[in-house]
Amino acid sequence: MRKNLYTTDARREHGIDFVRSHRTLFYSGLFLLCALFSGCKDKDEIKVYRVSKAEPESAAPGVSPAESPGTGGMPPMSAPVESGATAGQTSQLTGNPPSNWEVQPLSSMRQASYLVKGDNGAMADISLVTLAGAAGGVLDNINRWLTQLGQPAITAEQLAQMAQHVTSPLGDVTVVDLEGLPQGADAAKDGRIVGGIASSDAGTIFFKMRGNAALAEAQKEAFKQWIATVKLTEAPAGAAPAAPPAPAAPVAAAPPMADAEKPRIKWEVPEDWKTVAPTSMRYASFAVAGQNNETADISVSVFGGDGGGDLGNVNRWRSQIGLEAVGDAELKPLIVPVTCKDGEILTVDMTGPKAHILAGWARVDGQSWFFKLIAPDQLAVAEKAGFAKFLQSVQFHP
C-alpha cells in the first residue's frame, strides 16, 4: 500500500501554504463571489425604454421569407417599394386574376393576395410582392423557397434546367415549380410552391403560389396566365392603394381572422371601404381614401367587461383629437343611440383641432364592442352616412 506522505498537520499546513501562496487568487475568488451576490439583478429596478407605436414586423399569413428580407443580401423589410400599396406612390401593379381566386386582405408587404380553395380543405395562398433592387437574386430566393419546403438547395445549372419563362408586360418572368412537404406542415395547405420572379424598373417582383400540391398543380396554368397579365400602371393621384381591386358589392363580412374563439358578428361594409389587416388590438380594420392622400381609419375592437366605461373612452377619444375631457353631465348630451340589427349602439360625433372622430359602442354578452372612425374633418363628414349605415348593419347574433 502506498505510504501517505502527509500527516494531518502536514496536510493542513500544505493547504494553508497553498492558500498563502495563492492568497491573491483566493481572496479575489471570494470577492468575486460576494460581488455576484451584491451585484445580481435588481428585480425592483424601474426600466425606461421606447417602443414603436406600430406593430412589430410581421410575416404575412402563409407568406414565405422570399417575399421579405432574409439572408443573401436582400434589402430590409422597410426598404422603400417603388410600386405597391404605400401612401404617396404614383404607380401600381395590376393584373387579371382568375375568378375563382378569393381576394384577401393586404398586408404591409403584399400588393396582391388571393386564396384558392380545392376539395377536402385543400387551399393555396397566392401573393404578389415587390422589393427594391435585386432583392438577393433569383437563385438565392428560389433556394430559400426550397428551404421552406424542406428541400436541398440547387445550383445555377439545375435552375437553368428546371426554370420556365413567362413573358409579361413587366418583362421575362422566371417561373419554377417546387415540391416538398416541410416537417409538421399541413398537407392540405402546403407541399408545393409555384413561384415567379421578375426584375423591372420597380424592383424585383415576386409571384408566389404556395399550398396543397395537387391544387397548386391544378392552378399552375391559371397562375402563369395571371403573371402574364400583371403590369405596372400609373395610379391616379390620391387613389386608394393598389391591386387587387376591391369587390364591387358590399361585403357581408365574416370576422377577418378565422378564429373559432372570436365572437360571431356580421356587418355590411360600404363600397368605398377597404379591408386592411387588423392589428392585435383590433377585431377588424378598414380604410377609406379621400382627397389629398387623406385616409380615414375605421376600427372595430372588443374588450371584456365594460371596456373602461363610457366616460373614460369618450375622454380618451377626445384627447386623441385635441379636445378637453368632459364630465358625466357633459357626456350625456353628446351620446346619440343608433339602432342596429339586433340592438342599440351608442354613438358620439366629435370634432377637434387634430381630427374628427365618429365612434359607437355597445355592450353585448359581457363584452364591449367599439366602432371608431377617425379622419380629417372633411373626410369624416363625407363618410358619416356610410359609418351610420355600417353601424345599423351590425348584427351581434347572426
Binding site: 407605436k53 414586423e57 410581421s58 409538421g184 399541413d186
Partner: protein, 392 residues
C-alpha cells in the same frame, strides 16, 4: 486568525451545518406553500440570502434564517476551500478530485441559474406577431408617454415597488406616483353590485365606478394573484411649495379591459398594470398551431407551433417548428413549446434566458469522468494485486 477562519470555512462541520440548515429550510418552505403558494415561497425562502420577518414591510425587518442563496453560496465556498485544502496531486485521488470539481461546477451553475436566468412566456394566437415575452408571475405598472408620433416612451415600474407603497419619482416622469393602496390579490366589482358600504376604488378613470376588495392569496400552482393598486398622480413639489394639487387617483389592474389615460404637462399619458414585458430585437409570428391527440381520446400526442422568426438586424426571416424537445434557440433565449389555450386558440411558448444552461451538462460529464476514472484505477490496482499474489 486567517488560519482559523480558513479551517472553519473548509471544515466538514460547516458542510454538516449547511446541509442541516438546508433540510430545515426545505421543510419550512414546504409548509409555507400552504399560505403563500410555490412561487412566492421560492422567492422568499430559496432565492434569497435570508428569510425575512416580516416578509414585506417598509419598516424594520429581521433575518430569521439563512435563505437558499446564502446556504448554497456557503456550501460552494466550503466545497472549493475544502478542495483547495486537501488537494494533492496523485493518480490515486485524481478521480475523487475530478468528481468534486464537477460538483463545484454543478453548484456554481445552479447558483448562476438562480441569479441570472429569466423565464417568461409568449402567448400567440394564429397570425399574431409579438416582439416581447411576458412574465406571468411579475406585474409592472407601465406609464406610457404617448406624445411622440412614432415611439411610446414606457416607464415600467415593477410591482415590487408598488407593494412597498410610498412615493415613486423617476427622471422620466414629470410627476410623482403615490401608491395609496396595493392589493396582492383582489376582486373588482361594479360599484352598484358591491353593496352599500363599498366606495369607489379611485376618483378617476374606470376605478371611479368599481369597488375593490382584497381576497386571500392564490396558492394553487396554476393560479396567480390578481394584483391591483390605487395610485395617485401628483405634481412634484418644487421650492417652498410643499403640497401641490393632485390629479386624482386611478385604479390600475390587468383585469381592466382598456388602458386609462390622463393629461399632464401638455402630454397624454397612459397607465396600465400588465405582466412585466421583456422586449426583443426580433419578432415571432404564429403561422400554425398543431395539436394532435391520441386517437379516440383527448390525451395530447403532440403539439407544435410553426412560427416565422423575423430579425431585421440580422436579416433573419425564416420559419421554425417548435415542438416537444425541439425548442428554438435564438440570441441566447430558448423557446419551448409549453402549452396551449382552450380549443387551441393560442399557443404558449416558454421563453428561457439562462446564460449558464450548459453548466449542468459540463458538470455531469466531469463527475462521470471522475467516477469512471476512480473505478478503473481501483479496478486496475485490484487486478494487479491479484495477479502478483503468489500461489499457495
Amino acid at each position: 486568525m486567517w488560519h482559523r477562519l480558513f479551517d472553519f470555512v473548509s471544515s466538514l462541520k460547516l458542510t454538516i451545518i449547511c446541509l442541516v440548515a438546508s433540510i430545515v429550510l426545505v421543510f419550512a418552505g414546504t409548509l409555507a406553500q400552504v399560505n403563500f403558494g410555490i412561487h412566492e415561497v421560492q422567492q422568499r425562502y430559496f432565492q434569497s440570502l435570508f428569510v425575512w420577518w416580516p416578509a414585506v414591510s417598509q419598516g424594520l425587518r429581521i433575518p430569521v434564517f439563512p435563505g437558499g442563496h446564502l446556504l448554497g453560496g456557503v456550501l460552494l465556498v466550503n466545497l472549493i476551500t475544502a478542495h483547495v485544502r486537501r488537494f494533492r496531486w496523485t493518480w490515486r485521488k485524481f478521480g475523487i478530485q475530478l468528481t468534486h470539481a464537477g460538483l463545484i461546477v454543478m453548484l456554481a451553475g445552479g447558483l448562476f441559474t438562480d441569479l441570472f436566468a429569466v423565464e417568461s412566456f409568449m402567448r400567440l394566437t394564429p397570425g399574431e406577431t409579438k416582439n416581447y415575452s411576458e412574465d406571468s408571475r411579475n406585474m409592472e405598472l407601465a406609464v406610457i408617454d404617448e406624445s411622440d408620433k412614432e415611439l411610446d416612451q414606457v416607464t415600467a415600474i415593477p410591482d415590487g415597488l408598488l407593494r412597498r407603497g410610498g412615493t415613486i419619482e423617476h427622471g422620466s416622469l414629470p410627476f410623482r406616483i403615490i401608491v395609496r393602496h396595493f392589493y396582492q390579490n383582489s376582486q373588482l366589482q361594479p360599484l352598484e353590485k358591491a353593496g352599500p358600504k363599498a366606495g369607489p376604488a379611485a376618483t378617476e378613470g374606470v376605478g371611479s365606478r368599481l369597488a375593490v376588495s382584497e381576497i386571500p392569496r392564490a396558492t394553487a400552482e396554476n393560479d396567480r394573484d390578481l394584483e391591483c393598486a390605487v395610485i395617485e398622480i401628483a405634481p412634484i413639489p418644487t421650492g417652498s411649495e410643499v403640497t401641490a394639487e393632485s390629479l386624482g387617483t386611478w385604479l390600475v389592474s390587468d383585469q381592466l379591459g382598456a388602458p386609462q389615460t390622463f393629461q399632464y404637462a401638455g402630454k397624454t399619458w397612459r397607465v396600465e398594470m400588465r405582466a412585466a414585458r421583456y422586449y426583443k430585437p426580433y419578432s415571432l409570428t404564429l403561422r400554425k398551431f398543431t395539436h394532435e391527440r391520441i386517437a379516440g381520446t383527448e390525451i395530447p400526442k403532440n403539439f407544435a407551433s410553426r412560427v416565422a422568426l423575423i430579425d431585421p438586424d440580422r436579416k433573419e426571416d425564416r420559419d421554425v417548428l417548435i415542438y416537444m424537445n425541439h425548442p428554438l434557440r435564438y440570441r441566447g433565449e430558448t423557446f419551448y413549446q409549453s402549452g396551449f389555450e382552450k380549443d387551441d386558440t393560442a399557443t404558449i411558448l416558454q421563453v428561457v434566458h439562462n446564460p449558464s444552461f450548459v453548466a449542468p451538462y459540463i458538470a455531469c460529464i466531469i463527475v462521470g469522468a471522475g467516477l469512471l476514472f476512480q473505478f478503473l484505477y481501483h479496478f486496475a490496482e485490484f487486478s494487479r494485486k491479484r495477479n502478483t499474489v503468489p500461489a499457495p
